[in-house]
């Protein structure tokens, strides 16, 4: 035993400005799911078989609502991802996750792609990227949190 073993002990706070633990990639996941859901609905929506002012109005109204929600949720998803990327993740996390920057960059680009396209492929790739971020996030937090989708 050394004298250091019997020294009094205190905690020395070395925390960041923001309260730790308020981040969660679930917000991005929910927005991403909405993007994928709207994309699927847009691709599945059938053109009216009976052409009339009323049927066209209904079709265009439904399609435009799907598009508006897809656009809004993709922007929300991008925002949530950027907050995680720039605020939660720190330089020390790159040691264990060297792919971190590329993963976020691609995920943010997929949000933009999902806004300007109606692509089931890109919507799925966005969800895959969010799942990868979910895995990195909870590994850093030292917790096992399963990837569960709402839809």
């Amino acid at each position: 035993m050394t004298t250091e073993n019997i020294l009094p002990e205190i905690e020395a706070s070395a925390h960041c400005d923001g309260p730790c633990g308020v981040y969660d990639p679930a917000s991005a996941r929910v927005a991403g799911e909405a993007v994928q859901s709207m994309t699927k609905k847009m691709l599945a929506l059938e053109y009216p078989k009976v052409f009339s002012s009323e049927s066209m109005a209904s079709y265009l109204n439904t399609m435009s609502r799907y598009a508006a929600i897809k656009d809004e949720e993709a922007q929300k998803c991008k925002h949530e991802l950027l907050v995680l990327w720039t605020d939660f993740f720190k330089p020390q996390h790159l040691e264990a996750h060297p792919e971190l920057h590329t993963t976020f960059w691609q995920a943010a680009k997929l949000c933009s792609a999902c806004k300007v396209e109606v692509s089931a492929t890109h919507a799925q790739e966005l969800m895959d990227a969010i799942e990868a971020i979910h895995t990195m996030f909870w590994a850093i937090k030292g917790r096992e949190v399963p990837w569960i989708r709402a839809s």
Partner: protein, 99 residues
Amino acid sequence: MQRFIAVVSGDSMWPTYADGERLVCSEDVSTVGADSVIVFQHPLRSNVRAIKRIKEIDDLTAFVEGDNPDPLASEDSHNFGRIPLSNLIGVVLHVESKQ
């Protein structure tokens, strides 16, 4: 002068000191200067003792900063301003040796 152990809680001193690292400190702060790593009473939260590096010091106050290069990783003088030297609790001497 009394010595004590400061257990680092958080990542603001990374890469110099990691979360959970145990540091041997001295209560003798008479020789601290720029670049010393100090333990001090948080100026705005009476129940918090913090660890940071002195970047600049005068007769009465010090500007302290975390070592983490991420500007969001440390709450320090950039947030709460200069600290009075009367808030100093100790200075870090070295990492506790592992037995």
